[in-house]
């Protein structure tokens, strides 16, 4: 399951539509290892839809999204899993503790990062054994982001990762993104606060 860290992520002539309405068309984008693309745009312009399509969760209306030449839609259909997606929802089980949630994802992705280390980095030490249901919104978001460390993924697709995070949380996201780039990964981040991540970005896609 070890993902190739130097993959090429390419978007060609992409068109998206929702409910019969065309959201965007003719989008081209190419990310080489170590690059971050920021996606910005007003509410409802299609950032989330774009990220889901890049992840291979939905099929584009036209065009292609490929990772090393393989369409991501087929990757999502179970070949291998080099793509990590973090959407508006957090993907956590309310009744499991922070630690259990992290361990679950580690097991599913067959990754041997220790949950304890990630929890320490997230500064969630005192709620590690508390069910997620009792966490504050920001603590939940941190846990969800922690799951990123549990996936050996080449491409990170993050939808407004800074939501509900305080200043230290935002710093953490920045640090993790740089580390991911340094490892040769690439990433697409949708955000309403491009200024907070502008230093890292190599491309800015304005929808």
């Amino acid at each position: 399951m070890s993902a190739d860290p130097t993959a090429r992520f390419a978007v060609q002539d992409l068109a998206l539509s929702r409910g019969g309405r065309r959201l965007l068309a003719g989008l081209d984008l190419e990310l080489t290892p170590g690059e971050v693309a920021l996606v910005t745009g007003a509410n409802g312009t299609g950032k989330t839809t774009l990220l889901r399509t890049l992840a291979g969760l939905s099929e584009p209306a036209a065009g292609h999204v490929t990772l090393d030449g393989i369409p991501t839609y087929r990757i999502a259909a179970g070949l291998t899993a080099p793509i990590a997606f973090q959407g508006h929802t957090d993907g956590l089980k309310r009744d499991l503790t922070v630690e259990e949630n992290l361990q679950f994802y580690a097991a599913v992705w067959q990754c041997n990062t220790a949950a304890g280390d990630v929890i320490a980095e997230l500064e969630l030490g005192d709620c590690a054994h508390r069910p997620v249901r009792y966490l504050s919104a920001g603590q939940r978001r941190r846990t969800a982001l922690g799951c990123l460390q549990m996936r050996p993924a080449t491409v990170w697709l993050l939808d407004e990762p800074l939501t509900n995070l305080d200043a230290r949380g935002a710093e953490l996201v920045e640090r993790w993104l740089s580390a991911h780039m340094a490892r040769g990964g690439c990433s697409v981040v949708a955000t309403h606060r491009p200024e907070a991540l502008a230093e890292l970005a190599s491309v800015i896609v304005e929808l």
């Binding site: 969760l57 929802t89 957090d90 089980k93 009744d95 994802y105 067959q110």
Partner: protein, 221 residues
């Protein structure tokens, strides 16, 4: 395989944390069973006849009832997206969830069924057949219900639509199940219907998870 075990364990754990949700169908089962004699005349002969039916209908309903939420919580909280993107095949993960659900909802029911059967004056010799028949039939019921749940997961309409989709498909199971039980009660060998139940279980367990996975993939889109 590892992911299979993990998901199985997680779902079991979640179920035990919310055990009441899973106990509800069981209580339903007991209520229905204890209530039926009021509707029928309490004569042994009639009860005996109706007992099989009540047992099977309760088994059917209780495996359908809880299954509605099998995927819905995962879809709502975004876990399903993560499972779809995971390196393990979605069919296998669906199977894991199914198995966990079966252990939590059907197994206790099977454990309690003999007592209910006895209270309906079922002969003791027939109990073994009843248990085997339930063991063979409930997996198919769960698979069918899981397919129904996967098809309707992105709809707000919950249990009722699943019922409409799935209940007609379950009639063979009911027929073979009651037939096996009836034959055993009459002292005949119930091998015929039991083999059919086993065949249906094998068939549905091999194709069902794939079908449910396909439905989930479309629904989450």
């Amino acid at each position: 395989m590892n992911a299979y075990v993990t998901l199985f364990a997680r779902d079991l754990k979640l179920a035990l944390r919310r055990w009441s949700e899973f106990a509800t169908p069981l209580i339903f089962f007991v209520i229905i069973a204890s209530l039926f004699p009021f509707a029928l005349s309490p004569e042994a002969a009639v009860l005996n006849q109706a007992g099989t039916g009540v047992l099977w209908i309760s088994a059917l309903l209780s495996s359908l009832l809880a299954l509605d939420g099998l995927f819905r919580t995962d879809v709502d909280d975004g876990s399903m997206e993560q499972l779809i993107l995971s390196p393990t095949s979605l069919s296998l993960l669906v199977l894991a969830k199914l198995c966990a659900h079966w252990v939590v909802s059907s197994l206790p029911l099977i454990a309690i069924a003999p007592f209910i059967a006895l209270s309906f004056y079922m002969p003791v010799d027939a109990l073994a057949t009843l248990i085997v028949a339930l063991l063979l039939a409930t997996p198919t019921l769960s698979v069918l219900a899981a397919i129904g749940a996967a098809l309707t997961v992105s709809l707000k309409t919950g249990g009722a639509l699943v019922g409409l989709l799935v209940l007609p498909l379950t009639s063979p199971i009911l027929i073979f199940g009651t037939r096996a039980t009836d034959m055993a009660m009459n002292g005949e060998s119930a091998a015929g219907p039991l083999y059919l139940l086993a065949a249906l279980a094998a068939f549905s367990l091999s194709l069902g998870p794939m079908t449910a996975a396909a439905a989930l993939r479309v629904s989450v889109e």
